[in-house]
């Protein structure tokens, strides 16, 4: 019989998918105002004005949800020397040659880097978002700060969206990942193959 182990609890999964849904809405509505070729995406939220009104509120919701996620996964995302060794062999990683790679804990170095990149960009998005939030907050900030904030918001969002594209692709590429985040469990062979150190910890073997 196939042995399975729990990878994400029900609350972790709900937390992840709430963050993911808000992210998708934010990315699409944000791109709508970023480039004219994407303006049609404002229709998703009911037009340009509704996009302007809703985007910041959804943004705050995403940040709060992500903050809970961060507190859940913080301990598993500390970067170690092992992670540097794993990253140095990115060619093997990308070519599915996992044999002989340094052992991976609950998250690999790529996942950890994404974790920290998301935390950094979301902090920047939150702060700059408040500075440009019309009509509530933007009027109280000096114009140079507002100008800096629109640029920061655009660049941070770009980095975050780039990171999430890679994140989504990786979950499709590494078979079993999507099931881990939807159903919560992984086969023990999967855990042993991709997260050997974590597998040892949770299986006690």
């Amino acid at each position: 019989m196939r042995k399975v182990i729990e990878r994400y609890s029900a609350n972790e999964r709900l937390n992840h998918w709430f963050t993911a849904i808000t992210f998708v809405i934010l990315a699409l509505s944000g791109l709508a105002l970023f480039h004219p070729s994407m303006y049609w995406l404002t229709n998703l939220l009911g037009g340009g004005t509704w996009t302007r009104i809703l985007h910041p509120f959804i943004g705050v919701a995403m940040f709060l949800s992500f903050l809970v996620l961060v507190s859940r996964f913080w301990a598993h995302n500390k970067l170690t020397r092992n992670d540097a060794r794993w990253l140095a062999r990115w060619r093997d990683v990308l070519n599915n040659r996992e044999e002989g790679l340094p052992e991976v804990g609950r998250f690999n170095a790529g996942q950890k880097l994404l974790f920290w990149a998301m935390l950094l960009t979301m902090l920047l998005l939150l702060i700059s978002g408040f500075v440009i939030w019309q009509p509530y907050f933007a009027p109280v900030f000096p114009i140079t700060l507002v100008r800096l904030a629109v640029l920061t918001h655009a660049i941070s969002a770009f980095v975050l969206i780039l990171g999430i594209i890679v994140h989504i692709y990786a979950s499709l590429w590494i078979k079993g990942s999507v099931r881990a985040m939807t159903r919560g469990y992984v086969p023990s062979a999967w855990a042993k193959k991709h997260h050997a150190a974590w597998y040892r910890d949770v299986s006690g073997s």
Partner: protein, 291 residues
């Protein structure tokens, strides 16, 4: 509003050409500060023509009334008490949109067609397309657009685009009793300004000159200043340009970012095609146990 008799030279958040086959004279308003007596007839005319009524403000012991531009006040007189040459001078500037040839508001606006620049040079806000994001404020080097507290749309001087489109002069020009405000083709206004500057120099204002800042491509509202070497005396920026932060944000960043996002999606897909999925043999355990 759409003005059929005027072609559009530039349109916000639009990457293709705007309708532009008709030839129109480039127009300009010239504000001769040396002739302004601060009577505020232009303010009244602006309110009258555009159906605006600002709230009654508070007197702070100055002549400035209203105190600032707003969705209801598209032009205001600003009174500066200065001593530029050791002698007291009362400098009165009619503030409002300068209608830049290279408008920062239009560059920053994300809503297609919410800001247009007509072929004659006027920059106009089409509030029905405005989404209220305030990016025009971010883009403007002169602090002109105001977001209405009533409808969250941006408003500013239209230079009476509706009047100009049918051959009339802007309402403020019609009301000015001293000839401080004149309106015509940009060339004529520059010629007229040259005469005024020569006259002022003859009267001892050595540094008199025309304020038509090149950093924003010139403007369609120009000033004759007695002290053109010190526009800051009148509350005007010395060498206004669209902020480099805005240019960076709305310039190269946009196409490059979109390209990189597209390439990342494409690259991911090609990686899948090239390397293939990373699959786990779920029976591996038994095999390992056997070996």
């Amino acid at each position: 509003m759409a003005l059929q008799s005027l072609d559009i030279k530039a349109r916000s958040a639009t990457t293709t050409e705007s309708p532009s086959v008709r030839k129109t004279t480039r127009v300009a308003k010239l504000i001769d500060i040396s002739k302004c007596i601060g009577c505020k007839a232009c303010e009244a005319a602006c309110m009258e023509w555009n159906d605006l009524r600002d709230v009654v403000g508070v007197n702070k012991g100055e002549f400035d009334s209203p105190r600032d531009l707003s969705d209801q006040s598209w032009t205001v007189m600003r009174f500066y008490e200065e001593e530029p040459n050791g002698q007291f001078e009362w400098l009165i500037r009619k503030d409002g949109c300068l209608h830049c040839e290279d408008p920062g508001c239009l560059a920053a606006c994300p809503a297609p067609g919410a800001i247009v620049q007509y072929a004659n040079g006027l920059v106009d806000f089409h509030e029905e397309h405005c989404i209220g994001c305030g990016y025009c404020i971010t883009g403007c080097p002169f602090d002109i657009p105001r977001i209405s507290k009533k409808d969250s749309k941006a408003y500013k001087c239209t230079l009476c685009s509706d009047r100009v489109a049918v051959g009339l002069e802007p309402a403020c020009i019609k009301a000015c009793p001293t000839g401080a405000l004149v309106f015509g083709s940009k060339e004529d206004m520059i010629d007229h300004a040259d005469e005024r500057v020569a006259d002022l120099k003859g009267r001892g204002f050595e540094n008199a000159g025309l304020y038509d800042p090149a950093g924003v491509g010139g403007t369609h509202v120009m000033y004759v200043l007695q002290h053109a070497d010190r526009p800051q005396l009148y509350g005007l920026p010395i060498d206004p340009i669209i902020s480099p932060l805005v240019s960076l944000w709305k310039g190269v960043t946009k196409p490059i970012a979109m390209l990189l996002l597209g390439l990342t999606v494409l690259g991911s897909f090609f990686h899948y095609i090239h390397v293939g999925p990373n699959e786990t043999d779920e029976d591996e355990e038994e095999n390992e146990a056997a070996s």
